[in-house]
């Protein structure tokens, strides 16, 4: 049993992109000798794909339509889905929402949230922050909160105070502030999604998601989690990051450095982490 579970964890590490070249080659050789195990791996990959697809409106529809085969419903819903999908791709890339980003991080990253935050003093005058910086911080803190919450870390409640105070400085931001303030360490996923959606919408979704991605990337880099950077959202995040930095004329060299580091086949975690922290500091100030 323990060998089987060890194999399961190796396959899971392969799917998550956590195996080095040697361990990966070893696993592929083992798989080659056992077609049954290849099928297990295929099943696991297919399940992950189906589950992630059901989180995306485009694919939810695709799966259920295929099952039901109701052509009239298909035609009507296709129009809605295409419109929704296009809108979401342009304005609301859900895979870059703070909650979605937190869900991709390993639970072990929760331990580094508060210890290594780029903004150690989470107090002070929020009114003085430029709106873009405020949005970047909100996105980043939402990731911290979601990660701590999903890891059942009691530190989650401590993030709520500064986050809601940041939202209180946004004109007409009371609804988002109240939704965030109501979150505690027992918040449900639905409450979290609702509050995060309101908060991101209030401060500026694009910038908030840049902050969310940067914070996710910072935590992933601290865990040397290369899987995070292989996700489909990475390219979109880097493009948006580059655009936001360009508009503000802040952090452009760090963006270019980060892109070059991520393009490099060898992961240099320390410089990657430094570039990300620089960007969080510069764009969040």
């Amino acid at each position: 049993m323990s060998d089987t579970l060890r194999d399961a964890e190796r396959m899971a590490a392969l799917i998550d992109g956590h195996l080095d070249a040697h361990a990966r080659a070893e696993l592929l050789a083992d798989l080659d000798a056992s077609p049954d195990t290849v099928s297990v791996l295929s099943d696991a990959i297919a399940v992950q794909s189906e589950l992630s697809a059901t989180r995306s409106p485009r694919s939810v529809a695709k799966t259920s339509w295929r099952r039901r085969g109701a052509w009239m419903t298909l035609a009507a819903a296709a129009i809605v889905a295409v419109a929704t999908s296009v809108t979401r791709r342009v304005e609301r890339p859900d895979m870059l929402s703070s909650v979605a980003i937190a869900a991709t991080l390993p639970a072990s990253a929760a331990g580094t949230v508060t210890r290594t935050s780029p903004w150690p003093a989470r107090r002070g005058s929020n009114d003085a922050l430029p709106p873009t910086a405020r949005a970047v911080r909100v996105g980043a803190w939402l990731v911290d909160f979601a990660l701590l919450l999903q890891s059942r870390d009691t530190g989650a409640a401590a993030v709520v105070g500064p986050l809601s105070s940041l939202l209180a400085s946004v004109p007409a931001g009371n609804e988002a502030r109240d939704a965030v303030a109501a979150l505690g360490s027992a918040a449900t996923p639905a409450q979290l999604r609702n509050a995060a959606d309101l908060a991101e919408g209030m401060v500026g979704r694009r910038e908030a998601r840049v902050g969310a991605w940067l914070e996710g990337a910072r935590l992933a880099a601290s865990q040397q989690d290369s899987g995070f950077f292989h996700q489909p959202g990475t390219k979109i995040a880097l493009r948006t990051l580059s655009a936001v930095a360009g508009e503000r004329r802040v952090g452009e060299p760090a963006v270019n450095e980060l892109i070059a580091l991520l393009d490099s086949p060898a992961r240099e975690w320390s410089p990657i982490g430094q570039a990300i922290v620089t960007l969080l500091k510069e764009l969040g100030s």
Binding site: M1, S2, T4, L5, R6, A8, E9, R10, M11, A12, A13, L14, I15, D16, G17, H18, R24, L28, A29, L31, D32, P35, D36, V38, S39, V40, L41, S42, D43, A44, I45, A46, V47, Q48, S49, E50, L51, T54, R66, R67, R68, G69, A70, P106, A107, S108, R152, G227, H230
Partner: protein, 258 residues
């Protein structure tokens, strides 16, 4: 090491994921209704067995969600073997999707006629295909015999039609022989590929995974993978043609479809 309460808490935290993974795997393995419910309960029993041994063995080398997904996929294989012996959905059925898997299971595993299977599938909302369309789908799958006796219920055996004549579908022994020859040639051709190429081809054509899923699962770039698969397909087609396998058979073995 985590104590039992902490392990239980990890189990409870992941209960939603466990249910979703079990439901996906049930569909993938052609389980529905009571079988799918039994499978889900059995999975949970296995996960809590021996003081949460599965959770205790987790070393954090992957995310817990992915680990549980792989473990449940392994358990699904055991469940299927326990219930049905070595019977499993054919590669062709997997390539054709969940309806084909269910149809194959109902006909070849449980001994239903095509019209009976069609009624079951349509009643459960799993398909809107007619019996004729299901018959065509079944014809694209290899003919199989159940490994264990099939429960036929109170109906006398004489009333159960032969599966081979179901809904007017005839699959001759010659065709089956030709199919086996083609599959054996394909297996031999695979032996000449690199380890990773072989794995990719198996996942694509045996297990019916999409290119994007293979790329994600094996952590390889998706764009070059399309060209790579095209090249591999070319190589395999050449080998099959050289061995006298006809083009229709090659197409049915190496059909790409998401």
């Amino acid at each position: 090491m985590l104590d039992k309460t902490s392990l239980e808490s990890v189990f409870l935290d992941n209960l939603g994921l466990i249910d979703r993974v079990a439901a996906c795997l049930a569909r993938r393995h052609g389980l529905s209704g009571d079988d799918a419910s039994d499978f889900s309960s059995w999975i949970k029993l296995k996960l809590v067995e021996d003081g949460y041994a599965i959770f205790r063995s987790f070393r954090g080398e992957s995310s817990i969600g992915t680990y549980l997904t792989v473990v449940i996929a392994m358990l699904a294989r055991d469940f299927r073997a326990q219930r049905w012996g070595r019977w499993r959905p054919s590669a062709a059925a997997r390539r054709h999707g969940p309806v084909a898997i269910r149809l194959e299971t109902l006909v070849y595993r449980h001994g239903y006629r095509v019209d009976q299977a069609g009624e079951v599938l349509r009643t459960a909302g799993e398909t809107t295909l007619s019996d004729r369309e299901l018959g065509k789908l079944l014809a694209a799958l290899p003919v199989r015999a159940p490994l264990r006796p099939v429960e036929v219920g109170p109906d006398p055996l004489g009333q159960v039609e032969s599966m081979a004549s179901a809904d007017g579908i005839l699959v001759s022994e010659d065709i089956e022989h030709e199919r086996r020859h083609a599959e054996q040639t394909l297996v031999a051709a695979l032996g000449d590929l690199s380890l990773e190429d072989r794995l990719i081809v198996r996942m694509r054509f045996w297990d019916g995974l999409g290119v994007a899923d293979i790329a994600r699962g094996l952590r390889i770039d998706q764009k070059p993978l399309y060209r790579r698969l095209e090249r591999l397909l070319g190589t395999l087609r050449q080998r099959l043609l050289a061995a006298g396998v006809d083009r229709d058979r090659i197409a049915s073995l190496l059909t790409e479809g998401e």
